[in-house]
Symmetry: C2
Subunit: 432 residues, 2 copies
């Protein structure tokens, strides 16, 4: 039986999981593939991480370079994360004619164009199913399953930490800081949660999704990104009174030649399936011009689901190798890549409904002043909730608008937030 | 630019849609593929069906045999449905060395083993994404996206007609016959609805799903199949009082070496995502040993979504052709097909919770008699609802059991239904 030799870089959570998968599912994968998918090398700087994995003798090594240059290795799996040395390692593997699988969203969001170009030139495949939405076969669906569609919209819940925090804030009425702390204790959030809660991780994933949808790479810095750390239990409660749930969404939309991509908390109608995605789960709601609507749902992180996605990549790459057609499906699903970056429409061109939470001194005439400024900027109000008078201090005034232009909204809020009666910057949440 | 020539058989709803897709998306598909995907022949016995499709001159024909034998045709798409002549046409195409795409679930459920064996022998691909769940990329997900998993359970809502009827029965409290009539008027149900409402269509699709999950073909006749025509608004209302929604499910489960596959109405907990799948939508909830849970959702039928799925198959087959590796992924995802049929566990071995609706004369002692018989068959009761006394005639007694064995349940119900006080055969609904 022919053998496909896998060299694994990184034995952390996902890498260790993949090593176990390749050992435990060895026979199943062999029957499906008609060849052996063999864990030939597993490399990590920390030998301690190889403990407990039951690696066959001789498989573990601390020498990445030797593995990357070993002609016996067919596929390199990069699971060390971060930009460097991951980038160097991946490029070295490609230049050595090896196929690559990676779960590294930061790497692809920043250096995807360079890596995919190198792979195209060498005729090897770069697979990255695990880089977005963990175990959910999203990359395959966008690139192959919906290959006959122009995808016009994608809504993604792509960060399990944020979704877990928002779910608990919603079910318990708890505040952000308290739930974050609980999530950290449960291992659902990192010690430094910035990357997750400020939407950066989601933006990396959206950059990859946008590239698949458009066939071109956006500049990561062009993606407007807002996290969930400023959301309060009051926002969640009032959004619910308006009929919505708040989710951190990755959103891209292709319309009239404009391409939007943005990350921010968003109002999702309570009856929409995306509103029912709870806890650490991920989901992606896709609209295509022929397929209409498709949703994928599952675990977006974790050792076993992510290993499942990487292993599916290994099966695909192996099938390509076995029939001598490396790089059979181009990384972005487009045979001819022009190399031009994807131009994103500026946020100011967005048009949607808005939720505003103004924090104002409890004085007569405030609502009139705010309403007048909004009206002057062509922003009309669908609903207002003014919560009961506080004993002292500022009070929240919450509004849901009809569809309005982001440029108008930004101008109006700048004026409103400069009013002496306004105590805090206004909270803004866009409707999905 | 290289050209892949498609010969299309059948210009009905889906076939006409595919013809339009190949014309409208011609340039997009070409850019993605790096080759032209060309509708070279479109065949139907009824020339009227070619009207309005704007087929290029010379493409339409009524001669299937000439197309099937034309060496210029690379891929044959079979969209005529039914068993014959679809089977002959597909086998003829394969024997002529052509790749095949089909949406024909009845054909594959009945003759899949023969067709896939012929394709394997000729080294061509047979693609069938559109045969189950319309636009949802379910086949690709089961076979490729989850290729590193042993799939332990699949729950499918695979028939849009049934789901539409059940959704309306639920939201309106209407009875089956009335909603069916409305569905027929709206085009959501056929004039003869038997195939859909009795679960036969769902069983065909489940046969394909079970084959993908196990790598072997079940015998269609082995799949226990029960439809929705006996469900009453009362069942739906009482199930709701117990905390459940009723859905027609295709269910397969792999456990302890036993493989179950069955189609019947089932109780789905109200908080489960599958309970929120409404109207004509389909959804599939998959459990794998590494990925944990994945759900796919979308339109399970209709001209455009189904054409989207067939066209994705054409893209896959074209990529295989372009790199000279026909049949790159085996039909069932398994390189070595033993040819042995899949043995299904008999329904009697199922163990689950049950909903019973007894229809009994309104006499003292009936509940005691039923309870005693159930107890003697190791069936314990979780909840009972006895609705208020009717003016006259029999009354419903509804129970939810703890987990019980189907064999015990069948024996107990046979005894209960023979009691003089029981007026109608007992309605049984299994929990998902």
């Amino acid at each position: 039986m022919q053998s496909i030799n896998v060299g694994l870089l990184g034995l952390g959570t996902v890498g260790g999981g993949l090593a176990r998968l390749l050992i435990e599912q060895h026979d199943l994968l062999g029957v499906r593939l008609g060849a052996e998918l063999k864990l030939a090398r597993a490399v990590d700087l920390d030998p301690g991480l190889s403990q407990g994995l039951d690696l066959p003798p001789g498989v573990f090594s601390t020498d990445a370079a030797a593995m990357l240059d070993d002609p016996a290795i067919d596929i390199v799996v990069e699971l060390i994360g971060g930009l460097e040395p991951a980038r160097q390692f991946v490029l070295r593997a490609i230049n050595n004619g090896k196929h690559v699988a990676t779960a590294n969203k930061a790497l692809l969001a920043n250096h995807g164009a360079e890596i995919f170009a190198a792979a195209r030139q060498k005729g090897v495949g770069v697979a990255f199913e695990a880089s977005v939405a963990g175990g959910i076969p999203l990359i395959k669906t966008l690139r192959e399953g919906l290959s006959a569609n122009r995808v016009t919209r994608v809504l993604g819940i792509l960060n399990g930490t944020c979704n877990y925090i928002l779910s608990r804030m919603t079910s318990e009425g708890a505040d952000f800081a308290g739930v974050l702390k609980a999530a950290q204790e449960l291992g659902y959030a990192e010690a430094d949660p910035t990357f997750d809660v400020e939407g950066i991780d989601t933006a990396h994933k959206l950059a990859i999704v946008a590239a698949l949808v458009s066939g071109r790479h956006p500049r990561l810095a062009d993606i407007p990104t807002q996290g969930i750390s400023r959301l309060t239990p009051l926002d969640i409660q009032l959004a619910r009174e308006f009929g919505y749930r708040i989710k951190l969404l990755a959103l891209c939309r292709q319309q009239n030649g404009l391409f939007q991509a943005r990350v921010h908390p968003a109002l999702v109608p309570q009856g929409h399936l995306m509103a029912s995605v709870e806890g650490p789960f991920n989901a992606v709601y896709i609209t295509g011009d022929w397929v209409d609507e498709v949703m994928l749902y599952g675990r977006g992180a974790g050792r076993r689901p992510t290993a499942s996605a990487v292993a599916a990549d290994l099966m695909d790459l192996s099938r390509d190798i076995l029939c001598g057609c490396g790089g059979r499906v181009p990384a972005l699903g487009v045979a001819t890549d022009g190399g031009q970056p994807l131009e994103l429409a500026p946020l100011e061109m967005v048009s949607c409904q808005y939720y505003f939470r103004f924090t104002a001194q409890d004085q007569p005439g405030v609502l009139a002043a705010i309403s007048r400024i909004l009206g002057e900027h062509r922003i009309s109000i669908e609903a207002v909730i003014q919560k009961g008078r506080q004993d002292q201090g500022p009070v929240p005034i919450v509004m849901l608008t009809h569809e309005a232009q982001e440029a108008d909204v930004q101008k109006a809020l700048a004026i409103i937030d400069a009013l002496p009666v306004i105590a805090e910057p206004t909270m803004l949440i866009r409707k999905a």
